[in-house]
Symmetry: C2
Subunit: 281 residues, 2 copies
């Protein structure tokens, strides 16, 4: 079977959120970003495409080739092709030098690439993420979605304290907005091809997910010094590479589970505001 003859998978139109959903997503994002800011995080703004050569640093094309989407310009030699059946064939394309990220935190490591941190650092960022999935489900499994992250970089102790603190915050917030959150140990294929870290991750899980009815809406992840090493990030006064960890929120999935519980986006928005206010400014 050649690439051209392989049957095209049906892709639903990527969702456009309506005004009520938009207000709810923005409010949730503001709550999670605010948690980061309250702990001293500032925000950076990453692009939704990177050079393939940058994403390669994180083994994404080795560990996640099935999820990957890459961006290519059209081949214009001989006149631009017209799409047929809603698709351009590979022969219509030029080489792809840009990759669409499947997680947000890559931007944090590339932002600090080649630098020495003066101190333990916390940063927050939100991005559009992209995953080529076998099947899609509205709000729950999207080809493009938004992921807010809070990323810790520096000492191992700092990365672990950050996860402990936000695990508590997510648990309390989930209860306050009426969600039945389950904290579940999960596996992270980031480290599959990295012998020492893979062995360690079998001893101590590197990813925990907060699930609602089996759907992961947030995760806390410890990367040891995988990203620090790949981006040559150091911590002042320390030998070796910086440790990192991240807390990730799948924003559309929060919408999905809150809509299930509260029935409508405006009702869910009230619950989010109440929960944020109860926690205090």
């Amino acid at each position: 079977m050649t690439a051209n003859s392989a049957p095209a998978k049906h892709i639903d139109a990527p969702a456009i959120l309506d005004p009520d959903q938009t207000d709810l997503l923005r409010a949730l994002d503001e709550v999670f970003a605010g948690w980061g800011r309250a702990e001293g995080a500032r925000e950076i703004l990453p692009p939704p495409v990177y050079r393939v050569s940058d994403l390669e640093k994180f083994d994404v094309y080795i560990n996640f080739p099935h999820l990957a989407l890459v961006a290519a310009p059209l081949e214009l030699a001989g006149g631009p092709a017209e799409p047929a059946g809603g698709r351009f064939t590979p022969a219509d394309l030029r080489a792809a030098q840009l990759g669409l990220p499947h997680a947000t935190c890559f931007g944090a490591y590339l932002f600090y690439e080649g630098t020495e941190l003066g101190q333990d650092t916390l940063i927050t960022l939100v991005n559009r993420c992209f995953r080529n999935e076998e099947r899609y489900l509205p709000l729950r499994r999207l080809v493009s979605f938004q992921m807010r992250e809070i990323v810790a970089l520096g000492s191992y102790q700092h990365t672990q304290q950050t996860l402990t603190m936000f695990t508590e915050r997510i648990t309390a917030f989930g209860a306050a907005v009426g969600l039945d959150l389950n904290l579940v140990a999960a596996t992270d294929p980031f480290f599959e091809n990295d012998g020492a870290r893979a062995a360690l991750s079998r001893l101590s899980p590197v990813k925990h997910e907060f699930q609602v009815g089996g759907l992961a809406v947030a995760s806390v992840n410890t990367h040891r010094n995988f990203f620090g090493e790949r981006c040559r990030i150091r911590l002042a006064g320390e030998s070796g590479y910086a440790y990192t960890s991240c807390v990730a929120f799948g924003l559309e999935r929060w919408l999905a589970v809150l809509l299930d519980v509260h029935g409508s986006a405006p009702q869910a928005l009230l619950a989010v505001h109440d929960a944020a206010a109860a926690r205090g400014a």
Copy 2:
């Protein structure tokens, strides 16, 4: 020259905005979105990828094939390819069914596709946009950037009154933040292949740009009923298709020209806050 042998254009790493730049961009976006809200606009949230079959409705692959970027998954038959020199060749890819938009307002027309508006409508949205350019320039010409838009849909009179009102607001805000804005009539190749509208646009320009030193930082655009027709949007009580117009802001370009004038992002942020406060709540 085949696609595979064509020399690869160098692509700089897409920019990651630092915390001060991020705060400034967010403040600018909030000012422009606030103008829309003050006139009754609500916000919708579009995705940064669409089906190629949806973007085709707007003739983007006929009128802008050189700017287009499309997204494809990797061909996994025979084992996933590894990128060479930071690029996947066309043979490494499967068909591309997703297109990266080069403007934000497409999301507004797709949101209302096939509907009848109850009344004249104003809506606002921001998106990541993508353009395959010959050369890139930091903040001024990016492969991926953010465009805030305010879109009017309904009667022709409504679409024109909207442009008049925001032309005044942009002019006043530009002066308040110290920019030397020039309003310049421009051409819009959207209508190149549409005889009647092309003839009309020669009589009456359909696009005006606000330029700073030759760089367009905002534009006001009238589309007559091009998008209304392509997305079968109607206005209650009217025959024919709805008219549309849009006001667009290139957010990173505002950063570029404000940094030139004010020297630093924190200084520019003060100017933006002062200008917004002077205008009044």
